[in-house]
């Protein structure tokens, strides 16, 4: 990788951000909107992996599940329970949408942990689209389902009348900050973890600290596996919370 190549030339150099560069797959040219890039490749692999688990894994439709089917059923159960617990029974209509988000993020995070992989969820452009789509969908659902009542979300009736306008301003701001925090949280976690692993890997070029660096990389990697799942879970659960707000806007 770039880090090792550079490490030979100078004594020690870190390029922890190189792993995030978007490159065309087949040419050296500029990146147009249609150019197949490493992003395209890994998006394709994510779709493939999800298909493998959810479709190929369950092709037996066995009453007594195989390993793959068990995992697919566990994922189904996890997200299904999340949606019905948080958003309520009427939220189950949007279960496929939430499930798609969860499977996409969880596979993006886990595939990104493979060596030499590209982590699509480490890009603001990707998480931004995901978060914005949640934001727009949820807002649309809120207005379609509740009409003007959706604005009750910002009008806190349990608070004294005098401070309600102040709260309304705060609520509106927090509502519009949602997609930002929603996307930055996921991308930030992915960037930080992968960059830290790369920095530790860079230290491995110095013989004296190499064992420590390698142990640190292993530790970070284990931690990142945890983070990969937790961030997917958090993104999904927040989506459910926003969905709940849209379906039942009164506080």
């Amino acid at each position: 990788m770039a880090t090792e190549a550079q490490g030979e030339a100078t004594d020690l150099s870190f390029h922890p951000m190189d792993q995030f560069i978007v490159r065309p797959l087949f040419s050296d040219g500029p990146v147009h909107w249609y150019t197949p890039t490493n992003v395209t490749l890994w998006l394709f692999l994510i779709v493939l992996a999800t298909l493998g688990l959810l479709v190929l894994g369950t092709r037996g439709r066995a009453i007594v599940p195989t390993r793959g089917q068990s995992i697919a059923e566990m994922a189904y159960g996890l997200v299904h329970k999340m949606v019905s617990d948080i958003a309520g029974k009427d939220g189950l209509k949007y279960f496929p949408y939430v499930m798609t988000l969860f499977m996409f993020i969880v596979f993006a995070n886990f595939l990104g942990l493979l060596p030499m992989a590209f982590t699509v969820t480490s890009h603001i452009a990707v998480t931004g689209v995901l978060a914005l789509s949640v934001f727009l969908t949820v807002t649309a659902i809120g207005f379609i389902k509740n009409g003007a009542h959706f604005l009750d979300l910002f009008w806190v009736r349990s608070a004294p009348l005098a401070i309600r306008p102040v709260l309304a301003v705060i609520e509106v701001i927090s509502y519009f900050v949602r997609p930002v925090s929603h996307s930055i949280r996921l991308a930030g976690n992915m960037i930080a973890g992968h960059a830290v692993i790369k920095v530790f890997a860079g230290f491995a070029a110095i013989a004296a600290v190499a064992p420590v660096a390698i142990v640190a990389v292993v530790g970070m990697y284990a931690f990142e596996i945890l983070v990969a799942f937790i961030q997917a879970y958090v993104f999904t659960i927040l989506t459910c919370v926003y969905l709940k707000d849209a379906l039942h806007p009164s506080h």
């Binding site: 770039a2 190549a5 550079q6 390029h15 951000m17 190189d18 995030f20 560069i21 978007v22 490159r23 050296d28 040219g29 500029p30 990146v31 147009h32 909107w33 249609y34 150019t35 197949p36 890039t37 992003v39 395209t40 998006l43 394709f44 994510i46 779709v47 999800t50 298909l51 959810l54 479709v55 369950t58 439709r61 066995a62 009453i63 599940p65 089917q69 697919a72 059923e73 189904y76 159960g77 279960f95 496929p96 949408y97 499930m99 798609t100 499977m103 996409f104 699509v120 480490s122 890009h123 603001i124 452009a125 990707v126 689209v129 995901l130 789509s133 991308a187 960037i191």
Partner: protein, 197 residues
């Protein structure tokens, strides 16, 4: 002059394209300057491919994967419920079988008791008949023996009476009295009463 200028311009242009090309080629392995995440020139590409993959993923998840998994889960739930109901049924059947077994056992016991009682009654009847028979025989024998004893006693009585009469008559004669047969008979009868019997 003009042609010379043209040549120079062409050469310069060639050099320029070459350098751009090489810098782009070098940029492949070039290190990132700043955050690649903030490079807006790649946003269009990422968003385009992301939306395509999300649409494909959504279609597959919503149309194929989730209905299938949902069906499998509800099938399993059905199978489990069915099995539980079957188990309940079997349990009930087992209970019935146990009850039937107990009933059969009780019936057999009662039947056995009845047979024992019947046998006992029959034996008792036979026994009673035999006892009655034996009693009758014993009674017959006893009465026969009694008859003989009475006969013997009667004969003994009359013999004794005869002897007593004779002895009394001889005694009276020996003492020089007249033998009044009637008086002697009377006296002997009187004395004999209560001796025998």
């Amino acid at each position: 002059m003009i042609s010379l200028l043209e040549v120079a311009a062409t050469v310069a242009a060639d050099e320029y394209t070459e350098s751009v090309a090489s810098s782009v080629a070098y940029g492949e392995s070039e290190t990132a300057t700043g955050l690649p995440q903030l490079d807006l020139s790649t946003f269009g590409n990422q968003i385009f491919w992301l939306i395509i993959s999300l649409l494909v993923l959504y279609w597959v998840v919503a149309k194929i994967a989730l209905p299938r998994i949902g069906a499998v889960l509800s099938d399993r739930q059905g199978a489990i419920t069915g099995d539980l109901m079957a188990a309940e049924e079997f349990k009930l059947k087992a209970k019935e079988a146990e009850a039937a077994y107990d009933k059969a056992l009780a019936d057999a016991r009662a039947e056995a008791g009845k047979i024992v009682a019947a046998n006992r009654a029959e034996i008792q009847k036979d026994l009673d008949a035999a006892i009655a028979h034996a009693d009758a025989e014993i009674a017959a024998r006893a009465s026969e023996s009694e008859g003989r004893i009475r006969q013997i006693r009667d004969s003994a009585d009359s013999d004794a009476r005869d002897v007593a009469r004779d002895v009394a008559a001889e005694l009276v004669r020996a003492f020089g009295g007249t033998t009044d047969q009637a008086a002697i008979d009377q006296a002997v009868d009187r004395r004999m009463k209560g001796v025998l019997q």
